[in-house]
């Protein structure tokens, strides 16, 4: 609604326009007193006198983008002459020179919007709460019957503080989606901002838009490992939370996943403190989970069309099926160990049965098969702990994602190849489940840090990059939303950043600001960006015609660095202790109280560790009421049949990359 009464507040300036610097529909200039409270980024309101000099006419909202100060000094030389060349004489002249504070503002909104006209010469006022809502067009989604406003922070200027909201339809979809945040490393701005925004989304995501969850990849140290633990908030932070109507408490529902270490029982994460490790779920995948993403893992330089065809053959005809290798052996390939047996059987068959005269099997050349075998089996070596040779996998609850829950996958200590695998598979599964509406939630925010690494503007077209592009371009229709962060926005693929409806900037490096992507910003705005304090951001959003600076409170969770200080990671425990610990956690019915360590240790004494791992994985997979009983059963049942058939090897041996084999 357009106000009809003039502002009660005193004006702080007046619009001026000259032939050289005229007002336009998108920009205007005004002056203020020398001592003024406004600065770059301040939102101001211009009121034109109504017809006949009463009431108000056009109202224009603008954001200050540039500031100038100058005096009536005609030339610097005159100051030198006045001071007789002595700077000390120029310090306290009897009369202060006439000077001006002259500001340039970019128009945020005009009311009425049509006809669009140059900004009138009028008085300038500091914008209040309601003005900020009008200026940023937030009124449409803040005061509507079905509000979709998500607080992003507080606009603070001239002693005023007004909440700034994003539109959920443009942040989560379907109108626009995705958020990209840039900023220099080490200030905790990017991660903190995303943590706060997730808390804000969970608190304000409108019910009519359904259920929402977040999935975060922790790719650096302990950054996202303590989202369920309270952080240290100042009174000022709590006041800001109150102002934004966001709870200042840590996330209520956090599910953490981390791969196992190479020993197969200790978790590969920094959240291993005894008080917290119980909440971490192992993330392990077997052949079935991995083979669909073989493309991620295989180097495109040495996997050609023939290799591709053979992988497709394995995927379509072999995996999970009963398969006759043609040399009299029937296989059912479900694990890497099974796959290795199949390869050995084929190679032996070609060597022994065919007498070495044939160099192809089912139209596939033996060299191609050796190459594929080498690469596939190498995965379980390089990603040991994440990819298991054998046994059931432990995965995310793909059909049971919970509303307003954060799923954290800690891959900080995983081999880059494994990180790519995790990323590709998780995102693909999210997409599949969302397409089928079987994920359990209607929208998922996927937070990916280090986009400079995963979606660089140049470099090879990796599978991960293609996936990020796919999310960026088509994710909003599915409810798959990418929150990406990087240090150098200019070096991220431009379709990834370009498709982000909301752009957030923390403190930026001047070299980065000198790149063409920032040409639309004024020098003053760039200077402010280069010196932004922690907790302040510049936000671009489809409803905002100009970037807006906001402050956000410190996230209500324990920061990674503080987390590892308060909860130091535990040393890796011996194999049997790790098994006990996991069984205690998995014991649903007795809540772990009925499992005695010695009981478990006696059970696994002298047992093959791979068998124990398999049994443990089966318990994890099944989640029985009585974990120990089921563990005992699986351990026994599993071992017996295999003991009858002596295995050639206990596990898939790592392939020596410098072997004599040319592949």
């Amino acid at each position: 609604m357009i106000a009809t009464a003039r502002s009660d507040a005193a004006p702080i300036g007046r619009v001026v326009a000259t032939e050289l610097k005229p007002s336009t529909p998108h920009q205007f200039h005004f002056w203020t007193a020398t001592d003024t409270s406004i600065g770059i980024g301040a939102i101001v309101k211009v009121e034109e006198l109504g017809a006949g000099g009463s009431g108000i006419g056009r109202i224009v909202y603008g954001v200050v983008t540039e500031g100038f100060a100058y005096s009536d000094l005609a030339t610097p030389l005159h100051d030198v002459v006045g001071a007789e060349g002595d700077p000390t004489r120029a310090v306290h002249p009897p009369t202060a020179r006439q000077q001006i504070r002259y500001w340039t503002a970019a128009v945020l909104r005009q009311m009425p919007e049509e006809p669009l006209q140059p900004v009138p010469l009028g008085q300038v006022f500091v914008a209040g709460d309601a003005d900020v809502a009008q200026a940023l067009r937030m009124d449409a989604y803040l005061y509507s019957a079905t509000p979709t406003a998500i607080p992003i922070g507080l606009y603070t200027s001239a002693g005023l503080e007004a909440p700034v909201y994003l539109d959920a339809d443009f942040l989560i979809g379907p109108e626009a989606a995705h958020l990209n945040i840039s900023g220099v490393s080490g200030l905790a701005t990017k991660t903190s901002a995303v943590e706060f925004l997730l808390a804000s989304i969970f608190a304000h995501f409108p019910a009519h838009k359904g259920r929402v969850a977040a999935l975060c990849f922790n790719v650096k140290g302990p950054d996202l490992c303590f989202l369920d633990q309270p952080g240290n908030l100042s009174d000022e932070d709590r006041r800001r939370y109150e102002r934004l109507a966001v709870p200042s408490t840590p996330f209520e529902r956090v599910r953490l996943y981390a791969p196992l270490k190479a020993d197969g029982v200790n978790l590969n994460t920094l959240r291993t403190h005894p008080d917290l490790v119980g909440a971490v779920e192992p993330l392990t995948w077997g052949l079935q989970e991995v083979v669909d993403y073989a493309e991620v893992l295989l180097n495109r330089d040495d996997i050609d069309a023939k290799a591709d065809a053979f992988i497709d053959f394995l995927r379509d005809r072999v995996l999970g099926r009963t398969f006759d290798d043609g040399f009299g052996t029937t296989h059912r390939v479900q694990t890497f160990a099974d796959l290795d047996r199949l390869f050995r059987s084929i190679f032996d068959g070609l060597e022994i049965t065919a007498g070495g005269r044939s160099d192809s099997w089912r139209t596939h050349h033996i060299a191609t098969m050796r190459k594929v075998r080498n690469r596939l089996l190498n995965i379980s070596t390089r990603c040991k702990g994440l990819v298991t040779d054998d046994g059931p996998s432990s995965d995310l609850p793909w059909e049971e994602f919970e509303d307003r829950t954060v799923y954290v996958i800690d891959i900080a200590n995983v081999d880059p190849l494994g990180q790519d695998l995790v990323f590709a598979r998780v995102v693909s599964k999210l997409r599949e489940q969302l397409e089928r509406r079987e994920l359990g939630v209607d929208a998922v925010v996927v937070f990916v840090d280090e986009l400079n690494k995963y979606a660089p503007g140049d470099g090879p077209e990796t599978y991960v990059k293609k996936m990020l592009l796919d999310i960026s371009e088509r994710g909003r229709y599915l409810g798959l939303v990418l929150f990406g962060a990087e240090q150098f926005r200019s070096q991220v693929h431009r379709r990834v950043v370009g498709n982000a409806g909301t752009q957030v900037f923390g403190r930026m490096d001047m070299d980065e600001l000198a790149t063409p992507g920032y040409q639309v910003l004024t020098p003053a705005t760039k200077s402010k960006l280069a010196t932004l304090p922690i907790g302040e951001l510049m936000v671009r959003h489809p409803h905002f015609t100009q970037p807006i600076f906001v402050r956000f409170p410190k996230p209500p969770v324990l920061r990674g660095r503080d987390g590892v200080e308060r909860f130091p990671p535990a040393m890796d425990v011996p194999f049997d202790d790790a098994v006990v610990r996991q069984l205690v956690r998995l014991d649903q019915g007795g809540r772990g109280g009925r499992i005695r360590p010695n009981q478990v240790k006696d059970l696994i004494a002298d047992r093959d560790q791979d068998d124990v791992r398999r049994a443990l994985a089966a318990v994890r997979h099944t989640r029985p009421e009585d974990a120990l009983a089921y563990f005992r059963k699986v351990l026994g049942a599993r071992i017996a049949p295999e003991a009858a058939v002596p295995r050639e090897r206990h596990a898939v041996p790592p392939l020596n990359p410098i072997s004599e084999e040319p592949y």
């Binding site: 009536d72 002459v81 006045g82 020179r97």
Partner: protein
């Protein structure tokens, strides 16, 4: 070598310029020296040691006029005069305390045709009459218009100066641009000074005049008594040189100061001169007479110019429409 270079080499002082000042209003009587037996140059203390009063107000005025219509050869003039007093605060910033302006018409109404006269008198209430005998001589007529407007401005400034001096604080000074002696009340005020930049009227002669016109920078002359303005009120006066005249002209940087005719003025002449010398910075550029124009007086003038009607701005060299680009 040029002939003037030869003169300079022979002992003459280098000079530059040739513009003469406009004559001051009123006849100038020979001055009576009130400080010493002979007019002398008195060096001032260093500018940095000058005692500048904490509270000072500055008064200045402007005038604008333009022929806006012709009734036959009768030139109808629209005029605007304004004056303001601005007080300097402790930060050195000026704030307007008194301000008056007058928009009026200068026209020989008795020489106008009746219909146009009627229109003029119906639409304008403030008409300053002017002698219609000069209508047939346009150039002289305009000189008369100019002097009329100046008279109105001087009257306005005098009124404002009197109003200001009535309300001056116990320690507050008033510096006005021009003659102090226009108003007897102001001329007798103990803390009012007139600063005169134009030196059309000479009060000295002989050796005294030469000493005054060749006064070194940072010096003042001895104090002498003068009668000025149409009120013929006696005031004490002296010259102060703000900037070296050598290499410029005799009047370069030369101010004449007027204070009340009182022995205290003589006693404080050096102190007051030191103060005015310290006021030479900041420079009052881009005013052409910045060498004699004190910056606060310049600022008052600029303030008044900003408020003056745009249609009475001085004509540029060309009367073609002018754009900023």
């Amino acid at each position: 070598m040029t002939w003037w270079q030869a003169l300079i080499d022979g002992g003459a002082v280098p000079g530059r310029g040739g513009k003469s000042d406009e004559p001051e209003g009123g006849a100038a009587d020979p001055a009576d020296l009130v400080e010493g037996a002979e007019l002398q140059a008195h060096p001032l203390v260093d500018r940095s040691a000058a005692q500048i009063p904490a509270e000072v107000s500055f008064l200045n005025g402007i005038e604008r006029w333009s022929v806006v219509a012709y009734d036959g050869v009768v030139q109808i003039v629209s005029a605007y005069v304004a004056a303001a007093v601005r007080r300097r605060d402790t930060e050195g910033v000026l704030h307007t305390t008194f301000e008056r302006s007058r928009s009026f018409v200068v026209a020989p109404v008795e020489r106008m045709t009746p219909p146009l006269r009627q229109v003029l008198e119906q639409s304008v209430t403030d008409i300053e009459p002017i002698d219609g005998e000069l209508v047939g001589q346009p150039a002289r007529y305009l000189e008369k218009v100019e002097s009329t407007v100046r008279r109105v401005r001087a009257h306005l400034e005098r009124e404002l100066a009197e109003a200001c001096t009535n309300g001056l604080g116990a320690e507050e000074w008033l510096i006005l641009d021009g003659l102090l002696s226009r108003s007897p009340a102001v001329a007798r005020h103990p803390r009012a000074l007139g600063v005169i930049k134009s030196h059309g009227a000479q009060f000295l002669e002989g050796r005294g005049l030469e000493r005054a016109l060749t006064l070194p920078a940072g010096n003042r002359t001895s104090v002498f008594a003068v009668r000025g303005g149409h009120t013929r009120t006696e005031v004490y006066s002296w010259y102060v040189r703000l900037w070296p005249w050598e290499g410029n002209d005799l009047l370069y940087g030369l101010l004449r100061v007027e204070g009340r005719a009182h022995p205290d003025t003589v006693a404080r002449a050096s102190e007051l001169s030191g103060w005015l010398w310290a006021e030479r910075a900041p420079l009052a550029t881009p005013a052409t007479r910045w060498d004699r124009l004190l910056y606060p007086l310049h600022q008052v003038e600029e303030y008044l110019k900003a408020l003056a009607p745009r249609d009475l701005q001085l004509h540029r060299a060309s009367r073609l429409p002018r754009t900023g680009t």
